[in-house]
């Protein structure tokens, strides 16, 4: 059995794909999402074998979404697009799997055959898979917010998940600290914290060799001894 997730913002588009997949007896549709942020959390939650991913979606495109997932956690991605010259060119270059809307059932069957045979391209082969992030999608009070990277003051993990804190908003994101550290300019100041250097107002050195960062909006962020040196180097403080 292949578990499949559909992420597309257009309802008729999802409907059509569901109808086509329904003809394959060994494919189970485990969920459908109407945007990339929901899709991100569904991927983490449902761990599908394959994701049918639309490219043009509100605020976070399909390509951008892929870059927000750790390669190890990435399912097989089949991009679905109506018309996008740039993306198509990139797919060809990276030998990524893609379907064109309206979807040709025979072409879809070919993709399913590859999947059944267990062939899946390496994760890095996705176009834009390692491109830097511009924004972090978060959920606050059942709403999706996108926090622009330059507004982020710091990020930390706690029992609720990964918290993104900006001057006047904050939320929980599906993105891991690892991805955030790799794909953004945020740097570790503590094992559980990433700090935006541009948002540092001051650093208070403590007696025990650790320190505390005060952000532009006055929030306090711990700095462990291990990371203080790196932070100082980056800020050109000797």
């Amino acid at each position: 059995m292949l578990s499949a997730l559909i992420i597309d913002d257009e309802a008729p588009s999802r409907e059509e794909l569901k109808a086509l997949l329904a003809t394959a007896p060994d494919v189970e549709i485990v969920g459908e999402c109407s945007n990339a942020v929901e899709g991100l959390s569904a991927i983490h939650r449902l761990r599908p074998d394959v994701v049918f991913l639309d490219i043009q979606m509100p605020r976070v495109s399909g390509l951008e979404m892929v870059s927000m997932i750790e390669p190890s956690a990435l399912p097989h991605i089949v991009f679905v697009t109506a018309y996008d010259e740039h993306a198509l060119k990139a797919f060809e270059e990276h030998a990524a799997d893609y379907l064109l809307k309206p979807i040709d059932p025979q072409r879809l069957e070919k993709t399913l055959d590859w999947l059944r045979a267990g062939k899946r391209p390496a994760a890095t082969a996705f176009p834009g898979a390692d491109s830097p992030l511009r924004q972090i999608p978060c959920i606050t009070r059942n709403r999706i917010v996108l926090i622009a990277l330059e507004d982020v003051e710091y990020v930390n993990t706690d029992v609720c998940g990964v918290q993104v804190v900006a001057m006047n908003k904050q939320g929980v994101t599906e993105l891991t600290l690892k991805i955030l550290q790799e794909r953004t300019a945020l740097v570790h100041c503590h094992r559980q914290y990433l700090i935006n250097l541009a948002q540092i107002a001051e650093i208070e050195l403590l007696d025990n060799g650790a320190a505390e960062i005060v952000t532009q909006s006055g929030k306090r962020v711990p700095v462990s001894r291990r990371y203080l040196r790196e932070i100082k180097d980056k800020l050109l403080i000797s």
Partner: protein
């Protein structure tokens, strides 16, 4: 030789005045030549100064020759040349003229030769000094004043008499001579200088009047012909233009040609100079081939009409019309009939008119290119939007066919309406009704595609639907609102299209509830920029597109066009 006893003052004044008349007639005739041009204004150019020196030296010498001898002396009008030379040419010219006249006089001998040579030089210097004086006082305008010339010459002649008394020997003879000739010479020379100056002034005024009339003529032609050629360099417009040029210049006939054929002909001989016929005149061929003005005045260069032997036209001025890169694209020809004695054909005016027409044609070409460019851009825009929209629409359709074939049928209908309207409309303007139908078909498809995420509201009163605006003004804006607005919203959104008449303007507002507008330098905003440019080119900078945005709340695009009431058949 006159005996002093036999002459009385009045007779001497009379003779000298007669002599001056000859002198002034010569001056008058000379004033008709280009030699006089440098004398009419204050100039520092060396060639002008040289002309000034030559002319006045000639007058100086002539004054001596025209004088008559009295007891070995010469009663004369030499002073006029020296003083005026100084006044008009400055001290250097004055000195040179005085010296030349003086040395010439000296060469003729007589007991006053030295005195006369010195005094003439002094007279030239007096004029020159006056020149300097007036310039320093910033009263250069007074240089040409006849009264000042009179005063200066009066003073110069008195000085001359004094110098004769000082230098000429025997003193008794000199005294007697001065007693007799002083009054006649002072009077004649002063009056002569004033009259001479008046002559120069008159000549200048005539020239000014002429050039004013000339400019006025050119300006009137310019004014009347504005825009005529903007619509193209063709037979109709060229005939209109030829008419204007003929009315304003009063020449016998006017023709305008391109490089192959006659485009417009108005005036004498219009019965056989027919627009549309090929050029046959050798003068025109020459003008086109060599990019030169050809003036067949009928006297030095013969003119014979190349079409008909009975043609009454006797002279022709052919001026090439030059376009981009100075390339000849046609000619304008001015004709006078054989019967006309004084030709009013004027080369300079003709060249001016030709330049004017050339510029107009050039402007027309640029206007045409601009129009073509916009048209090409619209085509590009249409081609650019279609694939993305088309494939998404087809995909939506694929899904709906499965579920609701009836609904799918109506989508197909809207799709065909949309494409028919985008592809087939060739006219430049359409009604608001047309535009709204276009947008409606587009939005019906998008409504199906975004199923539940899009809401559309039209608020356009029926009495505005007949108003006109450039074709394809609305749809690109609505498409932008979907592409950069609604489709980027995580929640459902709404598009509102409203229209309102404000005075003599029609305002259409397209509002989306996304508020995600970001000004783009170019590229993605192509559709909106293009619509804005087209409206501005057509109606001016007061109209066009205006965007306001309340981030995350709404983006409002306002299209403003003037209301041009059409006469609708009732």
């Amino acid at each position: 030789m006159l005996e002093l006893q036999n002459i009385n003052h009045l007779a001497l004044i009379g003779s000298l005045l007669q002599q001056m008349c000859v002198y002034l007639v010569i001056a008058y005739m000379l004033s008709k030549t280009p030699l006089f041009a440098p004398l009419m204004q204050v100039t520092v150019r060396l060639p002008d100064k040289l002309v000034c020196y030559l002319v006045f030296s000639a007058f100086c010498i002539m004054g001596t020759y025209l004088g008559f001898q009295i007891e070995g002396a010469i009663a004369n009008t030499r002073a006029i040349g020296a003083v005026l030379g100084g006044i008009l040419g400055g001290p250097v010219v004055g000195l040179a003229v005085g010296l030349t006249g003086g040395l010439h006089r000296y060469s003729l001998g007589g007991y006053t030769d030295t005195a006369c040579a010195v005094s003439t030089t002094v007279e030239g210097l007096i004029g020159g000094y006056l020149h300097l004086f007036l310039l320093k006082r910033h009263r250069a305008d007074r240089l040409l004043s006849p009264l000042i010339a009179l005063g200066a010459t009066l003073f110069a002649e008195i000085s001359q008499m004094a110098i004769i008394l000082l230098l000429a020997r025997p003193f008794d003879d000199a005294t007697r001579l001065v007693a007799h000739i002083a009054l006649p010479m002072i009077v004649t020379n002063s009056v002569g200088a004033a009259l001479f100056m008046r002559l120069i002034l008159d000549r200048r005024e005539t020239l000014e009047k002429y050039s004013i009339a000339f400019s006025a003529k050119a300006l009137r032609i310019a004014e009347r012909s504005v825009g005529v050629l903007l619509q193209g360099f063709n037979e109709h417009n060229c005939t209109r233009l030829a008419q204007i040029v003929r009315e304003e210049t009063g020449v016998g006939a006017v023709a305008i040609t391109d490089c192959e054929k006659l485009l417009g002909f108005v005036g004498i001989g219009a019965d056989h100079h027919l627009p549309g016929t090929p050029i046959s005149s050798p003068h025109t061929f020459y003008a086109i081939a060599h990019n030169e003005v050809v003036y067949a005045d009928g006297a030095t260069i013969a003119y014979q009409c190349s079409v008909s032997k009975d043609c009454k036209l006797g002279s022709s001025l052919v001026i090439p019309l030059r376009g981009e890169g100075n390339r000849v694209f046609g000619t304008i020809k001015l004709y006078e009939p054989k019967s006309k004695f004084f030709s009013s054909l004027n080369r300079t005016l003709g060249e001016g008119i030709a330049r004017l027409l050339s510029n107009q044609v050039l402007a027309g070409t640029i206007e045409e290119q601009k129009r073509l460019l916009v048209q090409a851009e619209i085509k590009l825009l249409q081609a650019q939007i279609n694939p993305h929209f088309l494939f998404n629409a087809l995909n939506t359709l694929a899904a709906i066919i499965r579920r609701d074939p009836e609904a799918a049928r109506s989508i197909v209908q809207y799709l065909s309406t949309f494409f028919r309207k985008s592809l087939k409309r060739v006219s430049d303007e359409s009604t608001l009704k047309d535009e709204i139908e276009h947008v409606d078909a587009y939005l019906r498809i998008e409504l199906a595609r975004f199923a539940g995420r899009l809401d559309v509201e039209f608020a356009v009163a029926d009495d505005l639907l007949h108003l006109r605006l450039p074709t394809f003004s609305l749809q690109p804006i609505v498409e932008n609102a979907i592409k950069y607005g609604i489709s980027q919203m995580l929640e459902p959104g709404k598009i509102t299209i409203s229209a309102e008449r404000q005075g003599d303007g029609l305002t259409i507002v397209i509002e989306d509830s996304a508020g995600l507008y970001k000004p783009k330098p170019d590229g993605d905003g192509l559709g909106m920029n293009l619509v804005d440019r087209r409206i501005k080119i057509r109606y001016g900078a007061a109209y066009g597109i205006d965007v306001t945005c309340q981030p995350e709340r709404w983006t409002r695009v306002t299209i403003r066009v003037p209301v041009e009431e059409e006469l609708v058949a009732c």
